[in-house]
């Protein structure tokens, strides 16, 4: 176990492992995404209550789910980093934050577009949309802090701690927003109640969720590779690697 951790915790070895994992995961993730997207667009029968408009859910719900999932992955790696000081865990946090920001943006964007035909307005201060917005701001704040700290070692620890502070606060923020929302609920806008989904409607949703999570792992690997190059740019093995690549591209 320890050997395993330290072996994969070393940036040099992880650089190559990450490349391999990316190659393995890319195709399955693409397949699942295709199943989800094509299924959601073309093969699913239209919803009784919402007509064709509900097809947006195949983008909206999985991306919102992924945005939250990424935050919990960041929290786990923050704990791993702070307890065992494994550098790759810190890089995983760095790599995850922009992806999380992108997908919470996507969830907000599609939520707004869904809202227009369903509720008649681009934005309502619904509890879930508000929490998603706050999550988006948390990601942005996290990225801002990370880019502001120039010292890598301090930066890694500071951002790991910020992630943990966020994890403790997220449930508090979430439930206070729900409570606030039940106080201020507008009389004209009521949420559509969700009837149980037909199984044929659910499969593309699962496909999208699995596909997006695999996709997240894939691009986290790519981003970690960049991060390793940035940090280890002066070490011997990186220079050898670059020389090799240069030679290969010239031939």
């Amino acid at each position: 176990m320890w050997q395993f951790l330290h072996k994969y915790g070393s940036p040099k070895i992880f650089y190559f492992t990450a490349g391999r994992w990316f190659r393995w995961l890319a195709l399955p993730s693409l397949c699942f995404l295709l199943i989800g997207l094509v299924g959601g667009l073309a093969f699913v029968p239209e919803d009784y209550y919402q007509g064709e408009g509900f097809r947006i859910i195949y983008i909206h719900a999985p991306s919102a789910f992924l945005a939250m999932g990424i935050y919990s992955m960041m929290a786990i790696s923050a704990v791993i980093f702070l307890v065992w000081r494994i550098k790759v865990a810190a890089m995983w946090i760095c790599a995850s934050a922009p992806i999380g920001a992108w997908f919470s943006f996507l969830a907000l964007f599609t939520g707004a577009i869904w809202g227009k035909p369903m509720w008649g307005t681009w934005w309502i201060w619904d509890a879930r949309l508000t929490s998603a917005l706050i999550l988006f701001f948390l990601y942005l704040g996290f990225i801002a802090l990370q880019s502001a700290i120039t010292d890598r070692q301090v930066g890694d620890k500071a951002s790991a701690i910020l992630v943990l502070i966020g994890v403790v606060n997220l449930p508090i923020i979430h439930y206070s927003v729900i409570w606030w929302n039940t106080l201020h609920q507008g009389p004209t806008i009521s949420r559509l109640q969700k009837p149980a989904m037909d199984p044929s409607m659910v499969y593309p949703l699962y496909g999208m969720i699995i596909g997006l999570f695999l996709f997240y792992f894939c691009i986290a690997m790519l981003r970690i590779r960049c991060e390793i190059l940035k940090r280890e740019g002066r070490s011997r093995w990186v220079e050898d690697l670059v020389r090799e690549k240069m030679a290969r591209y010239r031939l």
Partner: protein
């Protein structure tokens, strides 16, 4: 008949534009997330190779 199904597919019972915008945005975000790290990786390799080149030049002029 064929043309009719296709227009229906794009129309989506009046929700066409909303659905297509969402799916386009979804694809855009996925593509950008894939391409940005790839580009960054290439740029990093290039800057490091430039640095190596410079070091070699300095080394050659002084030796």
């Amino acid at each position: 008949m064929m043309a009719n199904t296709i227009t229906n597919f794009f129309h989506m019972g009046g929700y066409g534009i909303y659905i297509w915008i969402s799916y386009a945005m979804g694809l855009l975000v996925i593509a950008l997330n894939l391409l940005l790290p790839l580009w960054q990786h290439q740029k990093l390799i290039k800057t490091i190779s430039k640095k190596i080149q410079q070091q070699r030049d300095v080394h050659e002029t002084y030796s």
